[in-house]
């Protein structure tokens, strides 16, 4: 097992190198860079000044040279200074923005699992019944809702109409709550975005659980369990569920990067200062150091996520052993 993990980590180093080069290359071949945008619409700027600026931002080199420079610094732990924020990139990335996005997604993720797993099991047990159709219909409806539309409806009903929840933002302005009151205030602001995440995300999980459960319920060993005289409850939640867990666990590992990537649309609608919003801004301004660090962070998480799901695979499925 340990050997397997070490080997996987060594391979991931190569993968990360490839990923970083691809991303850097793509960012650099974009038609206009940061300096072009900065100086656009300013008629007084001379081409010498522009050159000087490009040199200052490190944009005057070739792609390969630039990449080698970036890589050299990155290997020393220096990911450069963000063009727009004028602060070290790591400081911008691992700021409250990331944790705001993460908190939102993580809470939504847990709620999704709590809803999807039991409902998926119920739907599978009562396949083709009214309950099953109702559950699957709701799941599909949630899955197909556009987030901006659904968010608008929620805001219309719960913020403007009923006035129960705040419209947007993360804290109530001019209140300056501290301590528990502050957390409660933020919680109120997070309810609607989390509802959007959950309703939109729960469907795919639910369908996944249902399909897997259906497959397992028809397996011979489930019939064997029944033939032993086990109660239906034990058959489902011990024998069938343990086997349904196998594919679900791998799916969970795969969704780890998603927890950190932020949600651009939902964050924008609710004016939440999260990482998704920061990333889309960085794309607009072509903030190469920030984008590089952000995407490399996600790449590392993706690799970690798959590694974790592979390891979990071996934990839940005795047939899987790595040497």
């Amino acid at each position: 097992m340990r050997q397997y993990i070490i080997r996987r980590i060594l391979i991931s180093v190569l993968v990360l190198l490839g990923v970083s080069f691809l991303i850097y290359g793509m960012l650099r071949i974009m038609p206009s860079d940061f300096v072009d945008q900065l100086t656009a619409g300013n008629p007084k700027i001379t081409s010498e000044q522009k050159e000087a600026l490009k040199e200052a931002y490190g944009l005057n080199t070739g792609i390969l040279e630039g990449y080698v420079n970036w890589l050299g610094d990155a290997l020393h732990g220096d990911f450069g200074t963000s063009f727009t924020y004028r602060k070290p990139v790591t400081e911008v990335l691992f700021s409250s923005k990331l944790w705001v996005s993460f908190t939102l997604s993580a809470i939504a993720f847990v709620i999704e699992l709590i809803i999807a797993i039991p409902l998926g099991i119920i739907a599978a047990r009562k396949q083709y019944s009214k309950t099953d159709y109702a559950i699957v219909f709701c799941a599909l409806a949630g899955l197909s809702l556009p987030s901006f539309f659904f968010a608008a409806v929620l805001r219309r009903v719960f913020s403007i109409g009923l006035g129960w929840l705040p419209l947007s933002g993360m804290v109530t302005a001019k209140q300056n709550f501290t301590g528990l009151a502050h957390i409660a205030d933020m919680g109120m602001h997070f309810i609607l975005p989390i509802v959007v995440f959950v309703i939109l995300g729960v469907g795919s999980w639910l369908r996944y659980v249902r399909t897997n459960m259906l497959e397992v319920l028809n397996a011979d060993y489930v019939r064997t369990a029944r033939a032993k005289g086990l109660s239906e409850h034990k058959v489902i939640y011990k024998h069938a569920f343990r086997n349904t867990l196998i594919p679900i666990v791998t799916f969970i590992g795969g969704s780890i990067p998603g927890l950190f990537s932020g949600a651009i649309i939902t964050e924008s609608i609710f004016s939440i200062d999260g990482i998704g919003k920061a990333a889309i801004d960085a794309v607009h301004t072509n903030d190469i150091p920030f984008l590089m660090a952000y995407m490399m962070f996600l790449a590392v998480l993706t690799i970690l996520g798959t590694l974790i799901s592979d390891v979990l695979y071996a934990v839940v499925d005795p047939r899987v052993r790595y040497n």
Binding site: D220, T224, A225, G229, L230, H239, R242, P318, R319
Partner: protein, 373 residues
């Protein structure tokens, strides 16, 4: 189409209502055995599957009995309702599509005989695994891949003997494994994928024997195994049967296995019993043309023959069965005038030997002749 849907809906509803009932009064399922020497009596059992294409009468009026301590072989080609009969006895049909639609399965319980077809689920769970156990035909997939052999064996012990302490249980697991001929150390800590097919089937058998059942249903226990293992497993079953004094209901399409194991034989065709009798009756004096065909189609040692005989034609479509003898269109002896009428009744040829064929007397003679050679 509409009628099928309406009927299915009605039957599903009935099934779900039955399932939901609590506190079924005892008088509804307690019954009387016809012969107290029998462990199980199937009486006009009808098991139907309500599908979108129509009602499949997988088992349509099956009547036979399993005497205590005897082995009864059920033979017939694929799809003739052998497995469905056994699943009905275990009440393991895939509901609500598959359900017992009529007839009785009288089971001679220690306390009092009950009708399995009407027994509430709670009581059925006590019977399953404990009094009637089943060996399935797929050893490769019948064990749960994520639990160890020991876990799966002790689970059934714990379920039916809640007072058993842990040490006794471990000993019993090892004893069971030894009983089925697995003596390797640490076997109870291994997972199913670490065992060979034959070993898995032994574990499945050990599981079926765990609570000293009174009846073991073996649904093609050797089909998935190679010949040497088949012989071992059959020996094992025969020895164990005597050891724990159980009855065996052996389902197979392998006539050799039946000849070797069974005291009584039931021949099924298209969801009905066409012939039943002692193994002697069936093998030496087959009376139904279908049985005669089956006997002719098995390979014989030390005899030079060309191609093996095969019964012409196919089993009729299980939806919309004809009203005449189901075998008529494939039968060599079929005579339109006689066989085109109603489905033939069971005719007693001797005290043990029964057959459902209008022309059985002629068939007996020929079968006898063939045997005399």
């Amino acid at each position: 189409m509409k009628e099928i849907k309406a009927l299915n809906k009605k039957m599903y509803k009935k099934f779900n209502q039955e399932k939901k009932r609590n506190n079924v009064p005892e008088s509804e399922y307690v019954t009387e055995m016809r012969n107290p020497q029998n462990i199980v009596e199937f009486d006009n059992l009808k098991t139907y599957f309500y599908t979108d294409q129509g009602t499949v009468k997988a088992v349509d009026g099956v009547t036979f009995e399993i005497p205590m301590g005897k082995t009864i072989g059920i033979v017939g080609e694929s799809g003739c309702g052998k497995s469905v009969t056994s699943l009905s006895l275990m009440r393991l049909l895939q509901g609500p599509q598959g359900q017992i639609s009529g007839g009785e399965i009288r089971y001679n319980r220690d306390e009092q005989p009950v009708d399995i077809a009407k027994v509430p689920v709670k009581l059925m769970q006590k019977i399953r695994g404990n009094e009637i156990s089943m060996i399935f035909q797929e050893p490769m997939t019948s064990l749960n891949p994520v639990f160890t052999i020991g876990d799966q064996l002790s689970e059934i012990l714990k379920l039916h003997n809640p007072d058993m302490d842990k040490k006794d249980m471990e000993e019993r697991v090892i004893e069971l494994l030894r009983l089925v001929g697995i003596v390797r150390d640490g076997i109870s800590d291994s997972y199913p994928h670490e065992l060979s097919g034959g070993m898995k089937q032994r574990v499945v058998i050990a599981m079926a024997l765990a609570c000293n059942p009174r009846l073991i249903i073996a649904d093609e226990p050797t089909t998935a195994l190679d010949v040497t293992i088949q012989a071992q497993i059959l020996d094992l079953l025969r020895n164990l049967k005597d050891k724990i004094n159980a009855s065996i209901m052996l389902i197979t399409h392998d006539l050799g296995v039946v000849a070797e194991m069974a005291d009584y034989v039931v021949v099924m065709y298209a969801g009905r019993v066409v012939e039943q009798g002692t193994a002697q009756d069936i093998f030496h004096n087959p009376a139904h043309p279908y049985t005669v065909g089956l006997m002719k189609s098995r390979p014989v040692l030390n005899e030079e023959i060309g191609r093996l005989y095969s019964i012409p034609g196919n089993v009729p479509n299980p939806i919309n069965m004809p009203s005449h003898c189901y075998f008529k269109n494939r039968c060599e002896k079929g005579v339109e005038k006689i066989c085109g009428g109603e489905y033939p009744p069971m005719i007693d040829l001797s005290e043990t030997h029964k057959v459902a064929c209008y022309r059985c007397n002629e068939a007996v003679q020929e079968g006898g002749e063939a045997d005399g050679n």
